[in-house]
């Protein structure tokens, strides 16, 4: 039939196009792939793609990837609660929300990510982590590494070197974990500390832990070595060639639909809008002329947008009409410093042109924006 032969053509072209053949081969029971990209969104999109489109009955997949500096929060987490968003913006560190559960992690090129894809039935996190530990011990037998029952890997019985998360779908599942080889611990600890006070939410909280790099334990170790050791162990256990296929997450021909997935992961609606409902109840300390004003603020944020907000201002500090205008405009707008800045400065155009009024307005708004 015409369609059948077209189908075969496409399959063949896939094989010919890949740098190493056998990407789609059904001959082996496993496949090891590595991303050539360091973009967190592209790599997360590859996970999505494999999860949605690959048949894992006949072969399981190990995906190896590394990212340039990024903070990755779990599916149901609150970024304001988990990290210092101001610092992230300043340092140009990306923020991504993954589709699996679990806590927040910091990625940079000194951290490696491993994703184990299986069918839903073969989902088995402990096995995967034991594989990693076995690989580490094979590489450096003196390393004291073991798996805890919280699915962490500890070094020297105290330092966390790996965290785990998983995603289960209808027929397939994946378990991914990090592995600290030589990450920047200083940046890690500063970005993962939230400065935001007064947050109340049911979002999954992260459990802070002391971390250590494997490099600190043994300076001869590199990320490359670790990747190869784990790939080797995986190959042994799945009885396949120790062969890593490189893939380019930007290749739409190989991974049809991947750019759409990548784009979705970058949208504000996904990264911030998926935050479970939370509320803020805090105090703004504003220095105004010679005194300090303590202004109580309450806000409810749902889907990343301000649902309710009110400020406990001194009477007539702002004309009441103006205050209600501010509240009305903020309601429904994104809980985002950029959106709020443009909103309040635009509103100022239609306020009475009074310097005193303008400075009060700016003061209040600047302080409020610091909450975001």
């Amino acid at each position: 039939m015409v369609l059948q032969s077209l189908k075969n053509c496409l399959w063949l072209s896939c094989i010919l196009r890949t740098p190493k053949a056998c990407f789609w081969s059904t001959a082996s029971g496993g496949l090891i792939i590595q991303s050539v990209s360091n973009d967190v969104y592209q790599n997360l999109a590859v996970e999505d793609w494999i999860h949605d489109h690959m048949d894992l009955e006949k072969q399981q997949v190990l995906f190896l990837w590394r990212n340039s500096p990024a903070v990755v929060i779990g599916r149901h987490q609150n970024p304001w609660q988990e990290c210092n968003l101001r610092l992230l913006r300043q340092k140009n560190i990306k923020l991504a929300r993954r589709r699996s559960g679990g806590g927040t992690v910091y990625h940079d090129l000194g951290n490696i990510n491993l994703t184990f894809f299986t069918t839903r039935k073969k989902y088995e996190r402990m096995e995967n982590l034991k594989l990693v530990v076995k690989a580490l011990k094979a590489l450096r037998p003196q390393l004291d590494v073991h798996v805890t029952d919280r699915y962490d890997i500890l070094l020297d019985r105290q330092y966390k070197i790996s965290g785990t998360a998983a995603k289960l779908g209808r027929t397939s599942a994946y378990h991914h974990c990090t592995l600290l080889c030589n990450a920047d611990k200083f940046v890690l600890s500063s970005v993962l500390k939230s400065p935001y006070k007064g947050l109340k939410s049911n979002a999954t909280p992260s459990v802070p832990a002391s971390v250590k790099n494997l490099f600190e334990e043994d300076p001869s170790l590199t990320s490359e070595m670790l990747l190869h050791a784990i790939a080797k162990e995986y190959a042994i256990q799945h009885q396949i060639d120790h062969h890593i296929t490189l893939i380019n997450p930007a290749d739409e021909t190989l991974l049809p639909g991947i750019s759409k997935k990548t784009k979705e992961l970058q949208t504000w609606e996904w990264v911030y809008g998926k935050t479970p409902k939370f509320s803020i109840s805090t105090c703004l300390n504003m220095v105004y002329k010679d005194s300090v004003l303590d202004i109580k603020v309450n806000m409810d944020v749902k889907h990343g947008r301000i649902e309710v907000c009110n400020f406990d201002l001194p009477e007539q500090w702002l004309p009441s009409g103006l205050y209600s205008e501010l509240v009305k405009s903020l309601t429904g707008s994104k809980f985002c410093p950029n959106e709020t800045t443009t909103l309040v400065t635009t509103l100022l155009r239609v306020c009475p042109q009074d310097d005193e009024l303008h400075s009060r307005w700016s003061l209040l708004c600047e302080n409020m924006i610091r909450l975001m």
Binding site: D52, R75, L330
Partner: protein, 476 residues
């Protein structure tokens, strides 16, 4: 009269819980053209309790984190119902049935138990002979209970997506040869049938479904709803268009813009346009660009336009003024805080360069660089965005020549700059030469500014730019 209640393919979202009602067999053929809707959902199905299935690893309870559907929504088999979390694992629960959601047993953040009901789904159990009715099949991989509905009469095996595809293309499933297991009709079979009919080769679906063999060969209904088929048919057929209008509330920044623009409309605008010959300025900029680069600054034309505007405002300060609400007082602003309209993802923002009257062209370029990089990173501060007294909008970077800019209150004037075009012009000797021409369109508040003032300001600004050396005389 036999009333056949044919439930529309629930996987067609835009008819949700409405029912396709037809009154006789022949009407079925045209059913996809004349969609007869019943708005009242007549409940004739059985309610099935969909239980939370085993998650694995001995887990007995999970937390419900997000619902993808709500009561009253139609779902198809394999549609996502909710997201639950258990110990660092996020699980997507998909529907086992086609039907309408009647009850959600949990709210967000509740603990749900494996083996207990998660949602109640009303499954349509229509009986009667309808040629297009098909059996809902569960995929062979699942070992879960069946939702097998056997309908007396014509029994054809096909999944909901395949059924929908057939219906969209007006195909009787009984006429299609099934090549799947038990003669099940697959999506390829429908496509082949169509190809034979039209004699055309169908383009492959861009989705991964038709990519390599190891992939599931099921025609999984998880494919996107919009299926505009690019079939080069000699006879045009109505192809099902599943796009729909989307209504969103006006919030945040957009709301503020609505207010500002409504206020701007109250200002009686008048316009004045002109053409500027930038040939000499283009040359000057070429010479100065490398010097600025050495100092680490990108030099565009804007710093020149801005500085020339400020020099003009020194002569015509009324253009840098503000009229109060009651039109009682005009305030002449001392600082020339010239706003530069920027197009960002959110829309129009206007940061301003402060005190241009005491800035050199280079200072302005530095400040513009700073504002532009903050603007594109979405990190402009409130002080950058407030205090403007006069605005220039370089719409020419996007395109266009003449414009009718809207004054941004509380200002009284604005200029829109078109793109620079190379055009033939006559010089003093009557010869044609290549000129770099840019159009400018001014708008001003006619309550306090008259046409002559605007024209004179524009001429002065124009003369500075057409002959940049003259700026040297008046630079402060």
């Amino acid at each position: 009269v036999c009333i056949h209640r044919v439930r529309s393919c629930s996987s067609i979202r835009f008819i949700k819980s409405k029912y396709l009602c037809v009154f006789d067999k022949s009407a079925l053929k045209f059913s996809h053209q004349q969609r007869l809707f019943r708005t009242s959902a007549v409940s004739c199905g059985q309610i099935v309790q969909f239980k939370l299935s085993d998650i694995g690893e001995g887990i007995t309870e999970v937390t419900v984190k997000e619902w993808y559907i709500k009561e009253g929504d139609s779902v198809s088999q394999f549609d996502s119902i909710c997201e639950v979390q258990s110990d660092k694992a996020s699980v997507t629960i998909t529907s086992r049935y086609d039907g309408v959601i009647r009850k959600l047993h949990y709210s967000i953040d509740d603990i749900a138990f494996v083996g207990k009901p998660l949602v109640d789904i009303e499954i349509d159990a229509s009986k009667g002979v309808a040629p297009e009715e098909d059996v809902v099949e569960t995929p062979p991989m699942s070992h879960e209970e069946h939702t097998h509905q056997e309908i007396k009469g014509h029994k054809t095996l096909a999944t909901p997506a395949v059924r929908r595809l057939a219906m969209e293309n007006n195909i009787k499933l009984s006429e299609v040869v099934g090549t799947g297991k038990d003669n099940r009709i697959l999506k390829e079979d429908i496509l082949n049938y169509l190809a034979k009919q039209t004699g055309a080769i169908l383009p492959l679906s861009p989705k991964a479904e038709i990519v390599p063999p190891p992939r599931k060969t099921e025609a999984v209904p998880a494919a996107p709803r919009d299926k505009a088929r690019k079939i080069p048919l000699p006879v045009s057929r109505p192809i099902a268009f599943s796009g729909k209008d989307k209504t969103e509330p006006v919030t945040g920044f957009q709301k503020a813009m609505v207010k500002t623009m409504s206020a701007a409309l109250k200002i009686p605008h008048f316009g004045y346009c002109d053409e500027i010959d930038l040939t000499q300025l283009v040359q000057l900029r070429e010479e100065l660009k490398p010097l600025a680069e050495i100092r680490g600054v990108k030099l565009s034309f804007m710093p020149f336009f801005i500085k020339a505007a400020s020099l003009g405002l020194l002569q015509y300060p009324i253009l840098n003024a503000s009229l109060d609400e009651n039109c009682q007082n005009v305030t002449y602003k001392a600082s020339h805080n010239i706003g530069v309209a920027m197009d960002t993802e959110q829309g129009l923002i206007v940061p301003n360069v402060k005190n241009v009257q005491v800035c050199s062209v280079f200072d302005i370029a530095v400040e513009l660089n700073r504002l532009q990089s903050l603007g594109s990173a979405g990190q402009l501060g409130t002080s950058d965005l407030t205090g403007g007294t006069f605005t220039l909008s370089n719409i020419g970077t996007i395109g266009g020549t003449y414009a009718k800019p809207v004054i941004l209150p509380p200002e009284v004037a604005i200029g829109a700059l078109g793109k620079i075009q190379v055009l033939p012009r006559f010089n003093g000797k009557g010869e044609v030469f290549k000129a770099q021409i840019m159009n400018v369109s001014w708008s001003a508040d006619h309550r306090i500014i008259d046409g002559a003032t605007m024209a004179r300001f524009s001429n002065l600004w124009k003369s500075y730019l057409e002959n940049p050396a003259s700026m040297l005389l008046d630079l402060k």
